[in-house]
Symmetry: none
Subunit: 222 residues, 2 copies
């Protein structure tokens, strides 16, 4: 058939319109202006010689042809997605999402540099940074809302239901959920003795974070 000019961009737009039944919302969902989306849809329809949507200026409906097209369009997008996932998996790339908690102290500035390097190494891990109180975040880690948190606790007071490692002489402690099986399999080589009170970036903590990512960053961990 003559699909040489069809591109995934158009399929994405078609699916978005089919889902929202509304060009404007579909455009927002695709992060484009809706004129761009309208143009692409129209271009595709002209290319196919077939109307995919019936616009009645208050409601957008799929035509029978649009319904038929939608099936293959979704499959095509899913297959493309599988392709990139499988390629990444073949080389064992780190993917997924990582929710990190930190306390609002001077250590936060170090985290910024660490995260930058982390993102360079693992560009496909979506990192979410959450700032809060130590005890609250310890609970969030236990609940699974956070994957890992850097926080300060009293020395003789290890948090419950989570796994903790002391990273330095200072009060800084990494806390991860104790329910995570992977967390128990390997040990975290904790940071060398260098307290956060020093102004220098404690790169060892970056190392710890990088190691942590090996476990929590995988697709299954999310």
């Amino acid at each position: 058939m003559e699909m040489d000019r069809v591109e995934l961009r158009q399929l994405r737009y078609v699916v978005a319109v089919a889902e929202t039944r509304n060009f404007t919302r579909a455009a927002r969902q695709c992060f484009v202006a809706q004129s761009a989306l309208s143009h692409q849809i129209g271009s595709l329809e002209r290319e196919l010689g077939v109307k995919l949507f019936a616009r009645t200026s208050r409601r957008v409906e799929l035509t029978p042809a649009g319904e038929a097209f939608l099936v293959g369009a979704r499959q095509s997008l899913e297959a493309a997605d599988r392709a990139v996932s499988d390629a990444a998996a073949a080389v064992g790339e780190v993917r997924g999402r990582l929710a990190v908690g930190i306390i609002p102290t001077v250590t936060a500035v170090d985290i910024a540099a660490v995260l930058q390097r982390f993102r360079e190494r693992h560009p496909h891990v979506r990192v979410g940074l959450h700032v809060g109180a130590s005890d609250v975040m310890a609970a969030e880690v236990a609940a699974g809302d956070l994957d890992v948190a850097f926080l300060g606790l009293a020395a003789g007071n290890p948090p419950q239901g989570v796994e903790a490692r002391e990273l330095g002489r200072g009060p800084l402690v990494a806390v991860v959920s104790g329910r995570r099986g992977a967390a128990r399999r390997r040990r975290v080589s904790h940071a060398r003795a260098r307290g956060p009170r020093r102004g220098r970036p404690p790169s060892a903590r970056g190392l710890a974070l990088r190691r942590l990512s090996r476990r929590f960053g995988r697709p299954g961990a999310e």
Copy 2:
């Protein structure tokens, strides 16, 4: 996953390279310069952060990641192809029989290639090819024995009872029955000026046939 920048164009190129194991031949197969293909492949690899091909400057091999990617890439292209086919089918796939007449001149070799492409596009149309003299076939078209004929006539002598379009400066003329209502609804954008005497394949004539098929190939036309 992160496939928002991946496009079918890149998948087509990847498949072509995987098939030919050679960038140059793949580029020819895709009707582009191999620099363009190289650029797209490289761009995709950079986007994925994964090498899909191992170039050893005399042989191009798929990496394991490339093999993994190829599977989904092929499926994606096939699904997209299905999408456009199904959309076309939903609005009335081209079916029926088409009786084509041609004159036994050099134009016949072009017809062969055109018909091959036509059959790929419309596998459910039974095409019958009939060779004969121009005046005889013009009469057959008028009688409905032929659906369309490519033939040569004197310039000032339009055939009676049929609709004719001049396809080029040369004597080649398409003749269809004047009784066909569909033939009057739209105009044929006739071929650009390139006489059949040139040895080059006049692709414009293929275009004309493809356009004709839109009308006569429909179920109602048979």
